[in-house]
Every structure is written in structure tokens, then in C-alpha cells.
Symmetry: C2
Subunit: 210 residues, 2 copies
DNA sequence: GTCTATAAGATGATAGAC
DNA sequence: GTCTATCATCTTATAGAC
């Protein structure tokens, strides 16, 4: 692969991370890459397509970096631990911010929307098997949709990342609260059949009540 | 208050909701308001200050619309019910999208960052007393930071809103999963002292283990 | 593949007539 | 308060020399 191509891909991802998709102009990206502005269009046709390609590559790389760690996780608390480590490292790397930028830019750009959907699918695809494994012997397994939970976890981390950009201390306290909820689920797991019965009764009463 | 001023405020909020902060140019806003472009600068000095004012007003109004409903909530499941109703209505009104746009634009604009922080503080201020009330008699009350939980709930809904813009069906299944977690917390509440003991033991073992 | 030059348009913001 | 006209600057994208 051409050197200029990869320089542009790297620079595009960096600019989106730091300035958002709105700030990622052909000139800004080319300047960062140290190449001529016209090469953006020679190699990628449009700015949008460059951003799309750069973000997909960044998401693939980031997901790959955590595949091993996630493969070793067997509990929800373990998942949240990796999530917190991931959050800390990728916040510095800017990769969660990059996803948030894709999502927020999706409204006015179908190419970004496609990239955003791809990014979310990649992460949900990584996390879902972990959730499945963590809840395998749990009394919750029958009640909960693991794909839905994986999506909720991914989306929540996305929201927390956005929040962190605005109020780092607030976001830290929010992460603590989420972690405690994970512990709670494990406690419920430990209590086993007792909870299964109570949960079933609760769900039944809620459904008939609503 | 001048008619033009309010027209511009309304138009600015609408454009941010529909096109994002990046698409909210002086010309676009003025066209939507049906007034001359130069009036943006006469009334608000800069485009940024107009967007800031418009978003703060929109957040205040949206929070006010749910104050009564939130005041009647006494459980976490009830909070999530209101949250889901709020999510459904404000998604159509675009007010959660507006917040997400503020957050994602915060990186490259300190004025937006201030507005974003204000928006988050407003919603956390509304939700925190509800969480406090919902957990008042709970075995979890001693362990959990209610402000942190309120922040986590707000940030998670923000992430879910972003996700919804990209994959509506995926977001719906994520919301279902979150709702089930709320039910779980209530089940734990019903089990009372038993859980309190188990939770304490778990937290102790986690702390000594780490 | 890479460069310069340039077209064609959008942007924030201002000056000055009314 | 509101308008027109305008500046300087930014944008995407292309044509054509090398």
C-alpha cells in the first residue's frame, strides 16, 4: 500500500479524533499528513470517503487491541474492568471520541452514518460473546437478551466518553456507579435460584400490571 | 423580548437538532427564521453565542416538561419508564440529539463545551433527587453514589440516542436490556437484608482481591 | 503520483444606507 | 432594527504541468 495513502488515513483519523468530523477538511488532513491537498482527491475521490476509510480502519485496529483481553473475561465485573481499562486507554488514543464523532455526524452525512453503524457493529460483535459467556450459568440468562445488553453497554460507554469530554470528574463518578451495578449483578448471580424465582415473579407482576 | 430574537433562538435550536452544530451557520439559521443574516450578529454578536443561548433555552424547556413526571417517580423502574417515555418524545422533538451535538462539538469550541456542561448539569440535577428517593430504603443506598448513578443514567441515555440515529432497531433492543437491569435492581431491593450482606461481602472480597 | 493554480461556492463578520 | 453589499477567508474539487 502506498505511503501517501496510509499517511492520509492516519492523519484523517487523528483530525477526527481531535477536531471532530466537522473539522476534518481536505486541507487540514493533508497538512497533518505532510502531503499536498490535491492528493486527498486523487487517492480517495472525496473527503468523506477518506474519513470513512480512516475511521473503519481505526475501529478495526482498536477492537483488535482488546480481542485477547476480552477473550479472557468470564464475568460482568470482568467485562466492566476491561471496559474501564479500555475507556482509559482509548480515551487517550481518542478512539471512543472518534466513534462519538461518527455517530453525531451521521445525521447530515449518509457516508458517516454507514461508518458509524459499522463501528457499532464491530464493538457489539466483540462484546456480545463476552456477555453471553458471563451470563451463561446465571439466573438472568433466560430473561436477558445478550445482544441487547451488549449494545446497551457499548452505547453507554459512548455516552460516558462524550460526557468525559465535558466534565471529566463527573464522568469518573458515573463510571464508578456503573461498576457498582456490575457488582450487583454478580451478587444476584451468587444468590442463584432464589433470585431466579423473585425475578420471574417481578416480571410477571409488571407485565400483568402494565 | 424582541420577536426576531426569539425567531433566531428557535431556528438555531432547530438547525442544531436537525443538522448538528456544524451545520448551524448564520445563513442557515437566518433563512430558517425568515430574517436577514446580518441580524444574527446584531442580536447575538457571534454565531456561537446564538447557538449557546438557543441550546440552553431548549434544555431548560425540555427539563421543565418532565419535572412533574419525575417528581412522581419513587422507584428505579419508574425512573426508567419515564426515561423511556422521555426518550421517545424527545427523540421526535430532537432535544436529546441537541445535547449529543453539544457534547460532540465541545472538543473544538469552548462555548459549546460550556453549553454542554450546563445541559448535563441540568438533567443530572433533575434526575439525582429521583435516584436518591428511589434508593432511599434500599440495601444499595449505603453503597452507591446517587449523583454518580444519575450521571451514568444521563450519559447512557445520551449514548443510546446517538446509537438510535444510526441503528434504531439496535437501540430499541438496548433499551429493553437497560429496563431489565432496572427490574433486577428492584428484585434486589425486595430481597432486602440478604442482599445487603452478600453485597458487602462481595465488595470486601473485591477490594482485598485487587 | 505529485505538484500548482484555479474555479465555484460557503463562511463569519462588518460598513453603511435606510 | 433591518437591510444590501462587501471583505477576507475558508471549503470541495478539478485541470493540467511535470
Amino acid at each position: 500500500m502506498s505511503d501517501t495513502r496510509t499517511k492520509l488515513l492516519d492523519a484523517a483519523a487523528d483530525i477526527v479524533r481531535e477536531q471532530g468530523a466537522a473539522g476534518a477538511s481536505a486541507r487540514a488532513i493533508a497538512a497533518r499528513a505532510g502531503v499536498n491537498q490535491a492528493l486527498v482527491f486523487y487517492h480517495f475521490e472525496t473527503v468523506r470517503k477518506l474519513i470513512d476509510a480512516a475511521c473503519r480502519r481505526a475501529v478495526d485496529e482498536a477492537a483488535g487491541r482488546y480481542r485477547e483481553q476480552l477473550a479472557a473475561v468470564t464475568s460482568l465485573v470482568g467485562l466492566l474492568d476491561v471496559g474501564r481499562e479500555l475507556h482509559r486507554q482509548e480515551r487517550d488514543a481518542g478512539n471512543v471520541a472518534l466513534m462519538a464523532q461518527l455517530m453525531s455526524g451521521a445525521g447530515r452525512d449518509p457516508v458517516l452514518a454507514e461508518a458509524a453503524r459499522y463501528a457499532m457493529d464491530v464493538w457489539v460483535g466483540e462484546i456480545e460473546p463476552v456477555v453471553e459467556r458471563a451470563l451463561h450459568d446465571s439466573p438472568l440468562a433466560a430473561a436477558i437478551d445478550t445482544v441487547g445488553l451488549a449494545r446497551a453497554v457499548s452505547a453507554s460507554f459512548l455516552g460516558l466518553e462524550l460526557y468525559e469530554g465535558v466534565d471529566p470528574q463527573g464522568a469518573a463518578s458515573a463510571l464508578d456507579a456503573v461498576q457498582l451495578l456490575g457488582v450487583l449483578v454478580e451478587v444476584v448471580d451468587d444468590l442463584g435460584p432464589l433470585v431466579r424465582l423473585a425475578l420471574r415473579a417481578k416480571l410477571r407482576s409488571l407485565r400483568s400490571g402494565a
